[in-house]
Subunit: 328 residues, 2 copies
């Protein structure tokens, strides 16, 4: 089968591409062809089959049509600009996140009109589709009411995915990812950056800054779990989803204090003391409004699995990013 990953240069996209190349199969079928697409040419892993890396802007005229002309059997659509950028550049956010997604779905519909074709499409949405006021625990039937342009664009993507699936143009499944922790790499300007950096930096022997109160609760899964969600979504029979094609993924609801406690347990007191409290009112205000917990009932019933403790999340990071080793 032919698998296409749009957004293959992103953190999750790279990991997913790597796992697919290594597995060489999905849902019991051999992957003969693997195509990675991103705004910059994605680096592709070693792969036994046909492998291609394409630099393309999904929202540009004709791009989506060109991409789907090869009629992949399975398309992962992970491409998006992030929340902060979509908020800072209104037009770019709508162009990339909304028009890009719609162009892809439209191109699939029109390609399928030429000759029957209904590819599986796995779309990554976000918990940013939810906005205050929120219940302590968000159920699977709670209102989508985003408070960012990014969340709005993702919610629109979900609606389009459902309608295009209902009409039989594609076989879509959307997954709302928790905040992915521990993100590898460097601290960035995202308000959520500290959730990763207070683990990642100490685990590399560096100091990290904690800008919020330890009582703050939020919703997490590891990059490894995120890749697992994507693969499980691709392998899932979508019939039981009915018309509601996007699912809130399972995750771990934990406080910052619990996160730090887990670091102490896994890596020891010395590493945990590398976290320095430095309250930041702006970050506190932003993250205070974020979801704290989800029932994720439908996803759990359908077999999606996430970590159940921060110990596991930290362990996954040590294994996947640090070669299993802690700093001396």
């Amino acid at each position: 089968m032919h698998v296409m990953i749009i957004g293959a240069a992103g953190m999750i996209g790279r990991k997913l591409t790597g796992v697919l190349a290594e597995q060489g199969a999905i849902n019991g079928q051999t992957i003969e062809r693997l195509t990675g697409v991103d705004i910059v040419e994605p680096g592709m892993p070693e792969f036994s089959g046909e492998c291609e890396a394409i630099a393309a802007d999904l929202s540009a005229e004709g791009t989506a049509e060109r991409l789907v002309a090869s009629r992949p059997d399975l398309i992962f659509h992970l491409a998006a600009i992030v929340s902060g950028e979509a908020e800072a550049d209104f037009e770019k956010g709508y162009r990339i996140n909304m028009d890009g997604t719609r162009s892809l779905f439209e191109a699939i519909r029109l390609e399928g009109e030429k000759r029957t074709w209904c590819p599986k499409v796995v779309f990554t949405s976000s918990i940013a589709v939810f906005g205050e006021p929120l219940p302590e625990e968000i159920s699977d039937t709670f209102l989508l009411a985003p408070l960012t342009s990014y969340g709005t664009q993702k919610a629109i993507g979900e609606l389009l995915l459902a309608d295009y699936s209902r009409r039989g143009f594609l076989d879509g499944i959307g997954i709302r990812l928790p905040t992915i922790t521990v993100r590898p790499g460097k601290p960035n300007l995202a308000a959520s950056s500290f959730y990763s950096s207070i683990l990642r930096e100490p685990l590399s022997g560096k100091e990290a800054i904690l800008p919020v109160d330890e009582s703050l609760r939020h919703w997490f899964a590891s990059p490894r779990a995120a890749v697992g969600f994507l693969i499980h979504a691709a392998e899932l029979d979508t019939a039981p989803l009915g018309a509601r094609r996007t699912l809130s993924m399972p995750g771990l609801s934990a406080t910052v204090g619990e996160e730090i406690e887990a670091l102490r347990r896994v890596a020891g007191e010395k590493i945990a003391t590398l976290i320095r409290q430095e309250p930041d009112e702006t970050i506190m205000r932003i993250v205070a409004s974020w979801p704290k917990n989800f029932t994720a009932e439908r996803a759990i019933e359908l077999g999606f699995k996430a970590e159940t403790s921060f110990d596991e999340i930290i362990q996954a990071h040590i294994e996947d990013e640090l070669g299993g080793k802690l700093p001396e």
Copy 2:
């Protein structure tokens, strides 16, 4: 002030335009200019101020920009193709209902960039944004999960309205209308047509066909109430809405049996016997999945008012459409 009604040739649009022309004011301000827009040139009522009728397709290149160049203070956006047509013609539905709405909001944003302008925009959404499985009573925080392309397009309109409002490009308020009964005119091919015709036809001395079971429950308001919602929405301070800009309107939850009982009470046994049962499996299947009841708590709290019995709905029809008279 300058009021623009987009969709002024439709049933609700005509009534709204008539009421605005007659009142000559809204929210305590004199209406100096009244502009009606529709795909066909709307017939405009007698009006003391400046009055214009424009035939234009909102989704056509440049139309929205041209319309907003006159910088109306208040814009009612009622234009849409109906559910059946949006389902039959996928591309047209998205072009008119989604792209048309987005074009309007974009044109307002870009006009406001030239020189500060933030018009009030009243957008009509629909209970078609909700889809099965549904609770007996739909709350204000229930998931938007449409089962039609029309409902999808309306839900996307709601999301855009909220985001454009949050960003300060316009001051939007959306209202989800119940099934409007009694629609004047003739029976049409809409699955919901019978809800009006089983009242309207007998009240004009004609026979009507009832294709469903009398136990079927649904959600109603009169055309008069719908116009009332629109005017109340236009006059409402949107600050208490927060980021959730669209409200499910209040309405009457009633069974077909209760509807017929009310006809009997208001118009007498002879008229009520003009309803002939002729079960239609297709119609039954479609309407069985529609919402039955709403809490409409937010809208009620904000002062929106609907009828509380079918007697009132029928009375409104007799007064507004039949000159207060029943057939001999």
